[in-house]
Every structure is written in C-alpha cells, then in structure tokens.
C-alpha cells in the first residue's frame, strides 16, 4: 500500500509544479501592469510606479521571481495580495470554511441521493420509474448551475419567500450558538440545492449503468442458478461491486466541484473561494490568483489521490496489479 501511494505521488507533484509554471508564465505574459494599477492609474508619477514595482518585487527578472515564489511556497508563504494588502494565505483560509461547507454538504448529499436513485432505476430497467428518473437526470445534467441558481432564487426566495436570496448570515440579526448555525443552514439551502441538483445526475448515471452491467455478469447468473434470492444477490454482491466506479467519480468530482461552485457562490453572494478568485482575476491580483490556483491544484490532486487509495482499499485487484 505504501509503494502504491508513493507511485501516485510521483504523478501529482510534477502536475502541481507544472500548473504553477503555466500560471506563472501566463500571468506575466498578460497585458496590464499591476504596478501601474496599484500606484493609481492616472495620477501616479513614473517614480511612484517604479517604487511600487520595486516594493512588489516586479522589477526582478522573471526566473528570479519564479524561484523566489517557489521558495516562499515551500515555507508556507503564498505572498501578499496586491488588492487586499493581506497575506494570501490568510485570505484563502478565511474563505475556505464557507466553500468547504457548501461543497462538501452538496457533494455528499448528491453522492448518496444519486447513487440510491441510480440503483433503484437499474433494478427495473425501462420501467416508468427508470424512464422518469432518466429524463430528470438528462434535464438537470444539461442545466447550467448558475442559471438553475437564478431560477431557484426567483421561485423560492423572491416568489415564495421561503429562503433568503443571498449571503451566508442575516447581518442584521447578531445570532450566536445554535441560532447562528440555523441561520447559516437556512441561507445554505438554495445554493446547496443548486449544486446537489446538478451533481446528482453524475452519480445517478454511473450507478445506473454499472449496476445494470453487474447484473449481467456471469457470477450473478451463477448465483441465480444456485437459487440465491434476487434481493440478496442485488444487495450483497451486485450493488457492492457496482459502487466502485461511483467512488472514483466522487473523488474526481470533488476536485471540480470547488471550481464549479464558484459561479454558484457568486449568484448567492456566498463568501467563499469562488468570489475571491473572481475578484483576483478582475483586479489582476497575481499573488492571490496564483495562491488560489495552487490551492485548487493541490486540492484536486489530493482528492484524486485519496480516491485512488480508498478504491485500492475496496478493490484488492487494483492494489495487487
């Protein structure tokens, strides 16, 4: 198992390094001079801009800037945000809990719900339930998350008034303790529902097709021939084997959902990483942008690594290969 993890790490480390290089190059190839922007577009003198450039370390040659950057990362320092004038690490850590809360909650519920419905649909293929669920799955799979979010706000927040339209807390009420938790949960219903609805089809589809495939396997035919009752074959053997691909997809999806959630965070003014990332893009805040991207690349890689490990634990064939 140890060597297995080691081999996986060998893919991940170069990948993360590559994404740093790509981003670094990209951001420095970009038009627009951050020193000029932050010194004040119109009013700054050439001396002020030069001083700003020196302060930001932008007067160094690119390779030197890059080496310095990687050195600082190794020390756990992601630099200072140009726009917020705060350490990038603090900014990210500050926004992280909101994003994690939203994405994890929705990913877990979507995983559970999608898998369950997929298994239900696969048991009786082409029955009314299966067709209905498959239709819904195609529909929600085709809906862009940001549009669905708007529609949910339109119907449930402004139309019916059941949920707040945006934010994470009621800023006028200064709740504490469980009342605060309840407030956050109330605010989270619509953004979480949006993400759940667009993710469920992913798990539904993969479970449905893999359960259907398992039920055609020879071992299931053998069990049937020996007279083991159908529900028992399904629960104890077919379903367990069919869950494996779902686990992989869960891990892959976990990485993507953080980026996918960014748009939903914006719609609902949810104070997470997504909003921060877009601010960074529009304000040309290079250090912040690189920091967030690095964090995302690491998060995605770790999610994939973790999935591979869980998969190997569940399926000895992978480990022994």
């Amino acid at each position: 198992m140890g060597s297995y993890i080691g081999r996986q790490l060998l893919t991940i480390i170069p990948t993360v390094l590559l994404s740093i290089v790509v981003n670094f190059a990209l951001l420095h190839a970009a038009p627009g001079d951050p020193a000029r922007i932050y010194a004040g577009m119109d009013t700054a003198t050439e001396e002020q801009i030069a001083a700003m450039r020196h302060d930001l370390g932008l007067d160094q040659p690119l390779p030197v800037q890059f080496v310095n950057y990687v050195k600082e990362i190794a020390k756990g320092n992601l630099g200072n945000s140009l726009a917020f004038r705060q350490p990038v690490r603090d900014l990210i850590l500050d926004r992280m809990p909101a994003t994690l809360l939203l994405t994890m909650t929705s990913a877990v519920i979507a995983f559970g719900g999608g898998t369950l419905l997929g298994a239900v649909a696969a048991r009786k293929q082409n029955a009314a339930t299966d067709l209905g669920l498959s239709f819904l799955s195609y529909t929600f799979f085709s809906i862009p998350a940001f549009w669905l979010g708007l529609i949910l706000i339109l119907v449930f927040a402004s139309g019916l008034g059941w949920f707040p339209t945006s934010g994470m807390r009621n800023v006028r009420a200064d709740y504490t303790g469980w009342r605060d938790w309840l407030d956050v949960a109330h605010h989270m219903v619509l953004p979480a529902l949006t993400l759940i609805l667009v993710q469920m089809p992913i798990f539904y589809r993969i479970t449905r097709s893999s359960v259907a495939q398992q039920q055609r396997e020879d071992y299931v035919t053998t069990f049937r021939a020996t007279g083991i009752p159908e529900p028992r074959i399904f629960r104890r053997y077919a379903l367990r084997n069919a869950i494996l691909p779902t686990v992989t997809v869960f891990g892959l999806n976990l990485g993507y959902v953080v980026t996918g959630a960014a748009l939903v965070e914006i719609i609902f003014a949810w104070p997470g990483i997504g909003r921060l990332a877009l601010d960074a893009v529009f304000r040309r805040d290079y250090p912040l942008l690189l920091g967030i991207y690095l964090m995302l690349a690491v998060a995605v890689s770790l999610a994939i690594l973790l999935t591979d490990v869980v998969y190997a634990m569940l399926d000895p064939r992978i480990r022994l290969r």
Binding site: L27, A30, W147, V198, I202, S210, A277, L296
Partner: protein, 305 residues
C-alpha cells in the same frame, strides 16, 4: 465545468468495439441502431429544433441586428411584436436567442474539433508506438486531466483577451485528455489485430499503417465523446459569458443571462429564455452521444434489448 468528466467515464466503462464488418450496409446498420436506442433519436430531433432556427436566424428574427436597441424596455413576451419580450435596453429577446444559438453551436463544434484532433493525435501515437513516447504522452495527458480546467480557462481569457477565437481555442486546448485516453485504449487493441500485423509483414510503413488503418478503425469512441464535448463547450462558453468574460460583440446566451440577472425579480424573460435554449441544446448533444455509444458497444446493446 463538471461535464467533461462524466462523458469520458460513461464511455470509458465499456470501451467501444468496432462494428461488425460485412453487414449489408454499415451506415444503414448504424442508423437503425441509433434510432432503436431512442436516446439518439430524441437527441437528433432536439438538435434539429436548435440548428434550423440557428441557420435561419436572419430570416426568423424580428430584428435583423440582435443588438438593435428598442424604445421600450421590458416588454412582456408577446407584446408589440416581440414574441419573447424585450430586455432592459429594449432589445428583442427572440432575436438574441436565435443569434446566440449560432454562437453556442460554433463554440461547441470548434472546441470539440480541436479537442478531437489533439486527442486523436496524442492518443494514437501514444498507443501505437508505445515505449518512452507512450510514457511521456500518457503523463502529460494525466497532468491535463488533473489541472482544474475551468479556472485555467478563466485566467487565460481574463489575461490574454476574450475574443471569440480565444474562447474556442482555449476550451479546445483544455478538453482533449479524455479523447486521448479513449484513443490510446482503442489503438492498443487494434494494433494487435491480424490485419495490422499482416500489413506489418507486407512491409507497409508504420506511419502509413497508423494513419490509413489504425486511426480510422479506432476513432468511434472519440466521435461519441466529441458530442459530449460539444455540450461541455456550450456550457463553458455560457459560464464565461455569464462572468462577463465572453466576447462582448456577439449575442451569447450566457451574456443574456448575465445581463438579465439584475432585473430577474421584476422581468424574468430576458434570462429565462436563453437558459431554456441552452438546456435543449446541451441535452440534444448528450442524448446523441449516448445514442452513439450505445450503437458502438455491442455488449450493452445485446443485453439492453
């Protein structure tokens, strides 16, 4: 965003086998199965519903110029010769939706085309020649699979410019790894077939065998996957436009939703109709993709019927 992963996995699970050769008419057989799959047929009907209006946008649209600013903002659907109403600048929503269809289809097709070319090239070379070339190309493919693409696309478009060409190329350049993997797996099996071995024995050039025989015989999964990539491209372009990062000179569904968003509580139609158009388009390609992979995988087909 989340879409590309699904497509690849769904097809990867049952890597397609080539169609039985020697049937009376190969194309006829494909068509019969495609229709029999139902999904494919429904998808095709939906696609026609999108393509025809897109082609005849100029004839069908009430306003020849979709950006033409009207005197009356926020007319309700059906009022004053505007079947889908007008937006905050008095522009005709139907005209913009029609021209938006052109843009969406173009972005999807071009991006998926780029991804297909790169994916086929990388995957087939990797699978056919093997060795160190395979190791390197596979590693690169894996890296591109792991990189958070949507965020990368945002950075590229935000820094280098958001012309429509950039948008299409960037989406294409980041969505090929799935194709490369499908292609590689397929080439690995085709390469061992008797007819390829025979060509080798006859002294046919290796590169010629690859381009003339191996690639044409292993490309089907990439075709099925490409329809899913078209759908993903449509969604990505919409997401970029929604963030204000799309091409501002083109009528785009994402941009309409973005602009209609602030007034959605008083006027829903400028942002709801482009959303519905997008769902129909994306669903059409997903259904066609599933229909195609059904045709191309004899194993599930037999059991499914």
């Amino acid at each position: 965003m989340q879409a590309p992963t699904l497509g690849t996995d769904a097809i990867d699970a049952n890597a397609a086998a080539p169609l039985r050769a020697g049937s009376r008419s190969k194309l006829g057989e494909v068509w019969r199965l495609f229709v029999a799959s139902r999904y494919g047929l429904v998808g095709l009907i939906l696609l026609i519903l999108v393509i025809i209006p897109a082609i005849f946008a100029a004839q069908l649209a009430p306003n020849a110029d979709p950006f033409e600013i009207g005197a009356k903002p926020f007319l309700r659907p059906g009022e004053a010769g505007h079947p889908l109403g007008t937006d905050h600048l008095g522009r005709d929503v139907l005209s913009m939706v029609l021209y938006g269809a052109r843009l969406s289809l173009m972005v999807g097709l071009v991006a998926a085309g780029i991804a297909a070319v790169i994916g086929v090239a990388v995957g087939s070379v990797s699978g056919y020649f093997g060795g160190w070339l395979d190791v390197i190309l596979s590693r690169i493919t894996d890296m591109f699979l792991i990189i958070p693409t949507f965020f990368l696309i945002i950075i590229v478009v935000a820094t280098l410019g958001n012309g429509i060409l950039y948008v299409m190329v960037v989406i294409g350049l980041t969505s090929w790894p799935g194709n490369a993997r499908l292609m590689r797996a397929q080439v690995l099996t085709i390469r061992e077939r008797t007819f390829v071995q025979g060509l080798n024995a006859l002294g046919e050039g290796r590169f010629r065998i690859l381009t003339r025989h191996v690639i044409p015989n292993s490309i089907q999964p990439v075709i099925a996957n490409s329809t899913l990539l078209i759908a993903a491209g449509v969604l990505t372009e919409a997401a970029l436009s929604f963030l204000g990062l799309g091409d501002a000179n083109k009528a785009s569904w994402g941009r309409m939703i973005y602009e209609g968003r602030t007034s959605i509580l008083t006027a829903w139609w400028p942002s709801v109709f482009p959303g519905i158009a997008m769902i129909i388009t994306v669903m059409a390609f997903y259904l066609i993709g599933d229909g195609l992979s059904y045709v191309l995988t004899p194993k599930t087909r037999r059991a499914g019927e």
